[in-house]
Symmetry: C2
DNA sequence: GTGAAAGCGCTAACAA
DNA sequence: TTGTTAGCGCTTTCAC
C-alpha cells in the first residue's frame, strides 16, 4: 500500500498520459503519433516524440493488445525429438517473426496429447494470431481446437480446405533427383534407400521420390535395399546392419534424413568400412552438424530458413490481409544437393 | 463494421461476463474461482467451472496482465553463434518456464548493439518479469537499461551488487580436474590446452582451472601447449596445426569447448592421425552432437538443463518472492566428465 | 487536425 | 462468502 503510493508519485513507469501531459496534447494524439496515423501535424508529432524520448516511454503491449484485439504473437509447434532439424527451424521462424514485429510462442509438446492440449491452451490464452504446426503428422487435434477459435494455421504437407488453413509443400523431388544423378555419374548403380517411418507423410513422400528418381535414371530398385528405419541415429545403424547382412550389397546409400545417415557413418566406421572410398552416403535435411561429421556429409538440403519464412509468410497473410481479399494458401519449399565428403566413385571391384 | 455487429451477437469469444451470466454469479466470483482464491464456496465454484467448460472459455491473458501488472513472461538472451550449446539452453529454459506457467521471449541478438537495443525494447514492452542474460560477456548495456525499469536479471559468471541481479557461478573446476586425472591415469603427461578467447570470462576461467588441475596432479604446463583459439571449429583446426608444427608434441589435448575439440578431430583425421590411438581429445560443454562425432567425444559436461533451471529459478524468486524477504542471489552449476571414445592411453613410443 | 470519452477483459479493493 | 465498482494503459469512435 505504501509501495503503491510511492510508485504513483515517484517511480511509476511513464504511461501515455504522462507523455500527453508533457507534450501538452491529448492521449489520442500520442496514440496516433506512435501508430503513424497520417493525420497528426508535424508540429504536435515532434512534441510527442520529444516527450517520449524524454520520459523514456515504452507503450504497454498488453493494453494495446487488449483494445486492438491483436497480440502480434504467433505460435509454432514442432516435434520435440532429438532431431536437430527442429531447434534450427524454430530459430529461423523466430528471427523472421521478430524482424516483422511479432513474438512467438514455442511448443515443446512431445507429441504427448496432454502437452499438446496445454500448448494449445497457452496459445489461445495469449491470443496468438496464427499457429505454424510443423510436425509432419498429427495435425488433426490441433486443427480442430484452433479452428473453433478462428485462428489461422499453416501445416507442412497437410492440406485442409478451410480459408484459415495454409499449406507448405516440400519439393523433395528436385534434391533427391540431384542426389541420384550425382551418384549415378560417380558410377554407382547399386543404391539403397534407408526410409523413414511410414506413418509420417514426409517419409513416404521421400521414399516415393527416391523410387521415381531411380526410375528416371534407369537404375534398378532392389526390394531388399529399401528399408524402413525411424529417422534416428540408431535406426540408421540398424538399417546399415541389415544391408551388410545381405549377400549382395549396395555401393551407395541414400538416407531419408541426416540422423539416419549419421547412424550409417557411425556403423560403417565401427565395421572398418571407409566412407566414401568403400561406401557413399547421402543424407537429407542438412542439419547444422552435417558439416561436422567425419567425413562431412553430402546431403540434400531442406532449408529451415525457407521453411520458416514460408510458415511465417503464410501466417502473416492470414493475420494481416482482410478476409475478403485473396491470400496465398499454398507455398513451396525446394531442396537441393549439397556436396561434401561422403560420396565418391564406388570401389573398383564392386 | 457489419463484422463487428455479427461477432457481438453470435460468435464473440466468451468473456468472463458470459461465464458469470451462465453460472448466475458475479464476475468477481468467476475470477476468484479461476485463480483459486480460497474463499469461493464449493457450490458456486462448481457452477462456474461448469459454465467455463460449457462455453469453452479461455481467460484473456492480456487483460489479466494489464490489471495485475504481471505478465508471466521471462526473457532470455544468449549468443547467437553457431555454437549448438545455446539453442539447447534456450530449449531447456523454455521447458522449465512453461512448466511453471511462464512464457519466454528469446533474443536473437547477435551481440550486435542495434539488435540488443531492439531486444531490450521488445522485452520491456511485453513487460517481462525477468531477463536471463547468458552470454558470458557484454552484460553491462543490458544491465543498465533493464535496471531503470526495475526488471530482475540473472547473469552467468558476472556479479553485480544489486538486489535485482542474481548470478550463476559455473564450477568448471570439478570437471576439468576429472578430465586431467582421467588423462593422467591413462598415462598421459603431455597435455595441451586449446583455450577460448580471452575476452570471454568463461574462457579465462576454464584456462585457469586447467592450469590449477595440472598443478594439482603435478603435470608440467608447457607454454607452447596452451594456445588461445576462438571456440569455433576452425579455431580448433588452427590450434591443432600449431601444435603439430611443434617439434615436441602433446599426446592429449583438452579443449576449452566442444566446437574446438571437433575441429581437432577433423584436423587430426585429415592428417591421418587416429583418435584416440595416436591422440586423445577431450572437449567441454557436451553439446548434443558430441556423441555423434567419430569417435564419440569424451567431454566435460556443462549441463544446459542445470544452467537453464538455475536461471529460471533465480528469476522466479525475484518475481515471486516479496521484496523484503531474502532470496537466493547466487547459484552454482557443476560440471563432470563424460567418458566416450576419444581418449585412450598414449601411443607406446610417445 | 485534435480532443473527450467509451470501453477492451480482467483483478482487487471495498461493501455488504 | 459474494457482489459492486473502479480502474490497468491503450485505441478508436465521435464530436468539434
Amino acid at each position: 500500500m505504501a509501495r503503491r503510493a510511492i510508485r504513483k508519485t515517484d517511480d511509476k513507469t511513464p504511461d501515455i498520459r504522462a507523455v500527453a501531459a508533457l507534450a501538452k496534447v491529448s492521449i489520442a494524439t500520442v496514440s496516433r503519433t506512435i501508430n503513424g496515423a497520417p493525420v497528426v501535424s508535424d508540429r504536435l508529432s515532434k512534441r510527442v516524440w520529444q516527450a517520449i524520448k524524454q520520459l523514456n516511454y515504452f507503450p504497454n503491449t498488453n493494453a494495446r493488445s487488449l483494445v486492438s484485439g491483436r497480440s502480434r504473437i504467433l505460435g509454432i509447434i514442432v516435434e520435440n525429438v532429438t532431431n536437430p532439424f527442429f531447434p534450427d527451424l524454430i530459430k529461423n521462424f523466430e528471427e523472421t517473426a521478430v524482424a516483422h514485429g511479432y513474438e512467438i510462442l514455442v511448443s515443446s509438446s512431445n507429441s504427448n496429447p496432454a502437452n499438446l492440449a496445454t500448448t494449445i491452451r497457452r496459445m489461445i490464452e495469449r491470443k496468438v494470431e496464427g499457429v505454424a504446426m510443423l510436425t509432419f503428422g498429427e495435425e488433426e487435434p490441433v486443427l480442430n481446437q484452433l479452428a473453433v477459435h478462428d485462428i489461422p494455421m499453416v501445416f507442412a504437407e497437410f492440406r485442409f480446405d478451410d480459408p484459415n488453413v495454409s499449406t507448405i509443400l516440400l519439393d523433395y523431388k528436385t534434391g533427391i533427383k540431384q542426389a541420384i544423378v550425382h551418384l549415378a555419374e560417380l558410377g554407382h548403380s547399386k543404391i539403397a534407400f534407408l526410409a523413414g517411418p511410414h506413418n509420417i507423410h514426409s517419409a513416404v513422400t521421400r521414399e516415393n521420390d527416391f523410387r521415381a528418381a531411380m526410375q528416371e535414371v534407369n537404375l534398378p530398385i532392389r526390394k531388399n535395399w529399401v528399408i524402413e528405419c525411424d529417422h534416428t541415429l540408431k535406426g540408421g545403424v540398424a538399417g546399415f546392419e541389415k544391408l551388410q547382412a545381405l549377400s549382395s550389397r549396395p555401393t551407395a546409400i541414400l538416407c531419408s534424413n541426416d540422423m539416419t545417415a549419421i547412424g550409417v557413418l557411425r556403423a560403417a566406421y565401427l565395421q572398418g568400412l571407409r566412407v566414401p572410398q568403400d561406401l557413399s552416403v547421402v543424407g537429407l535435411d542438412d542439419v547444422d552438424f552435417a558439416e561436422f561429421t567425419l567425413p562431412p556429409l553430402t546431403t540434400i538440403r531442406l532449408s529451415r530458413a525457407d521453411l520458416a519464412h514460408a510458415a511465417f509468410e503464410a501466417l502473416r497473410q492470414q493475420a494481416e490481409i482482410p478476409e475478403d481479399q485473396n491470400k496465398q494458401r499454398e507455398f513451396l519449399v525446394s531442396t537441393s544437393l549439397v556436396l561434401r565428403g561422403s560420396t565418391a566413385p564406388p570401389p573398383a571391384g564392386a
